[in-house]
């Protein structure tokens, strides 16, 4: 007859109790407190986002109509009605022109950093300065373009706004494109070189196409941020009340500038237009952001 062992009981005799219940009350309390604080931080970030979204949709939605999108801006803040067509036209033209300038230049800059400069001192300086340039306040960029372009040609134009936005987009495009080029596997470059292609041909026909989806989505995010920039637009593009399709002649306007002007007044009609413009702007910005997210999730190079 073997003696049956008593049913296993924990803790084993002599061993320390390692269960959670053995934690001292103070330690357990601190842990719970910290966990609660972390959850509270997340909630604190959600609240303003939810409130802003709700207010813009409810107030902007009340103003939104086809005529709001197609009519001219009233030249008196007091007047009820009117629309934001000139600002929508301005935003699309100015942001589009800025993208046409900044994206190609930015991508070539990224090619320099990732394919040629690598870890050389000059490339490191450019990389650091591109990061610093991302932090340059948009108002300073507005002043810079005012001095070096508006004073030069003698008038405020939509193109001046595009220049300012391009300066703001450039470093963002450079850094995000560089990240994407870095993900392209080295084997692709080696295979292309082994087939006799020179470096520039390799870069343009093999490396760039491999990274193009990431570059596109990064650039679209930069465009979305630029579309919401206000300060430089106010300083360098002036103001118009009916659409101006010519970027190079005459003042222009954009949605952010209209939101700012109308928000600073105390007239309810103008404030309504500000909310409508805000809703329009958010839809445009979110549109860019969603397209960017879609492209990057659908066509991304798998990180290795």
């Amino acid at each position: 007859m073997t003696v049956t062992a008593p049913p296993a009981t924990r803790p084993a005799a002599g061993g320390p109790d390692l269960t959670r219940a053995a934690l001292s009350g103070r330690r357990r309390f601190t842990n719970h407190l910290a966990t609660a604080a972390i959850w509270a931080a997340v909630l604190l970030a959600v609240i303003p986002l939810a409130l802003v979204t709700y207010t813009v949709i409810s107030k902007g939605g009340g103003v939104m109509s086809l005529s709001f999108l197609t009519e001219d801006i009233p030249n008196s803040y007091r007047r009820v009605g009117g629309g934001m067509a000139p600002a929508i036209v301005g935003t699309l033209l100015i942001t589009g022109a800025a993208a046409l300038m900044a994206i190609p230049l930015g991508v070539f800059g990224a090619i320099y950093l990732n394919e040629y400069g690598k870890q050389r001192p000059l490339a490191r300086v450019i990389r650091l300065m591109a990061d610093v340039m991302t932090g340059v306040p948009s108002i300073v960029m507005g002043l810079f373009v005012y001095i070096s372009w508006v004073l030069l040609v003698g008038q405020q134009t939509g193109f001046a706004g595009a220049l300012a936005l391009a300066c703001l987009m450039l470093p963002v495009v450079i850094r995000s494109s560089e990240e994407m080029l870095r993900l392209v596997p080295e084997e692709l470059r080696q295979a292309s070189m082994a087939l006799g292609a020179r470096k520039w041909k390799t870069t343009l026909t093999v490396v760039l196409p491999a990274a193009i989806s990431g570059i596109t989505s990064g650039s679209l995010l930069a465009v979305a941020r630029a579309a919401g920039e206000t300060a430089p637009i106010i300083i360098v593009t002036g103001i118009v009340f009916s659409p101006n399709w010519n970027l190079f002649d005459g003042s222009n306007t954009a949605l952010p500038a209209q939101i700012f002007r109308n928000a600073s007044t105390s007239f309810p009609a103008a404030q309504d237009r500000a909310w409508g413009a805000a809703l329009t702007l958010i839809v445009i910005v979110l549109g860019f952001t969603i397209i960017a997210r879609f492209i990057s999730s659908r066509f991304a190079i798998k990180e290795r």
Partner: protein, 330 residues
């Protein structure tokens, strides 16, 4: 005979399809040129703005930075341009913003790296991305028309509660309107949270798995693990993230211009209206001429110098922290 003729021809065709040597050189110079564009723009900003602001610097001398009076159109005598009260407004609103944004950002970053269940991580990241995507002017619009009026009773309550306390009470002085330093700071806090969060999160995610597991294996609770393993490792990087947030807060123009109140004012009272350097430029640039314009551009120069300085320092700190991290993993 035909063979020997053919070989060089096909070789040259191949060489052509591979691209020409000249193309290589042109291409590398061209990409270098676009890379140098960044340095050129930064240099040009400094040169052109300093030159254009010179009349104001010349007229005011060092008083441009130490004078608290800003009077572009005086009834008698010469115009006075002193940036001190605007610099004060910039500093105080940015500090309030950091005070609120840093704990929240660190909390969210911890949530994303240590705490969040897998299915909540995606939505939480989306919230931060969306917060970053909202244009600053929309926050300004919301701030001036919704937040400022709604906060007046709260400020009033704080004033009634704490206004009598000896030193602290001076911070919570009488409330004149909802547009003041405090509201500006709160709106700025919302706007810098995404950038501080994303960098802090990157830094936290470089903490070696082994360190965290070691802390847990020694019986640490999750919070003790965060305090003992995560924080010491990432202190430098978090400091860098905070500085980047500070740079953003100082340069933010439009939202602040809408909610800070637009008064030339130095006051310990957080509920008093004031103004910031960036906001003054955008508010007064349209109506300025001559030395007045030069003085506004001068504010831009000061702002540029300060943000570049802060950003260079912050980037260096973040890079050093990340490099050390990578070294310790390897």
């Amino acid at each position: 005979m035909t063979l020997t003729n053919k070989t060089p021809a096909s070789r040259s065709a191949l060489a052509q399809r591979g691209g020409s040597a000249l193309g290589d050189r042109v291409f590398s110079w061209w990409t270098l040129g676009t890379g140098l564009l960044v340095l050129a723009i930064l240099g040009l900003i400094l040169i052109t703005t300093v030159r254009e602001a010179w009349p104001a610097f010349d007229a005011m001398g060092p008083r441009f930075l130490t004078e608290r009076i800003w009077d572009p159109n005086p009834a008698t005598g010469e115009a006075i341009f002193g940036a001190l009260s605007f610099a004060y407004g910039t500093a105080i609103s940015s500090l309030i913003a950091l005070l609120f944004a840093v704990p929240v950002s660190v909390g969210i970053a911890l949530f994303l790296t240590e705490l969040a269940p897998r299915r909540l991580r995606g939505p939480a990241v989306t919230v931060i991305d969306l917060l970053a995507a909202v244009p600053s002017v929309v926050f300004g619009l919301w701030g001036i028309l919704v937040v400022a009026p709604a906060m007046v009773p709260v400020y009033q309550g704080l004033h009634d509660l704490l206004g009598g306390v000896p030193v602290l009470g001076r911070l919570f002085g009488p409330v004149s309107s909802g547009r003041n330093f405090m509201t500006a700071g709160l709106i700025l806090a919302i706007m810098i949270t995404p950038i501080v969060t994303s960098i802090t999160r990157e830094v936290f995610s470089t903490v070696p798995r082994a360190d965290k597991d070691a802390a847990l294996a020694l019986g640490a609770t999750r919070w003790e693990m965060i305090r003992g393993a995560v924080f010491p490792h990432s202190f430098g990087g978090v400091v860098g993230a905070v500085m980047l947030g500070l740079g953003r807060a100082m340069g933010e123009t439009i939202a602040v211009a809408l909610v800070i109140g637009g008064a030339t004012n130095i006051s310990a009272n957080l509920f008093a209206p004031g103004n910031s350097m960036a906001a003054v430029i955008v508010q007064q640039f349209g109506e300025s001429t001559g030395t007045f314009t030069a003085a506004l551009i001068g504010l831009g120069v000061v702002l540029f110098a300060m943000t570049v300085l802060i950003n260079v320092l912050a980037q260096t700190v973040v890079r050093r922290a990340e490099a050390r991290m990578k070294g310790s993993v390897a």
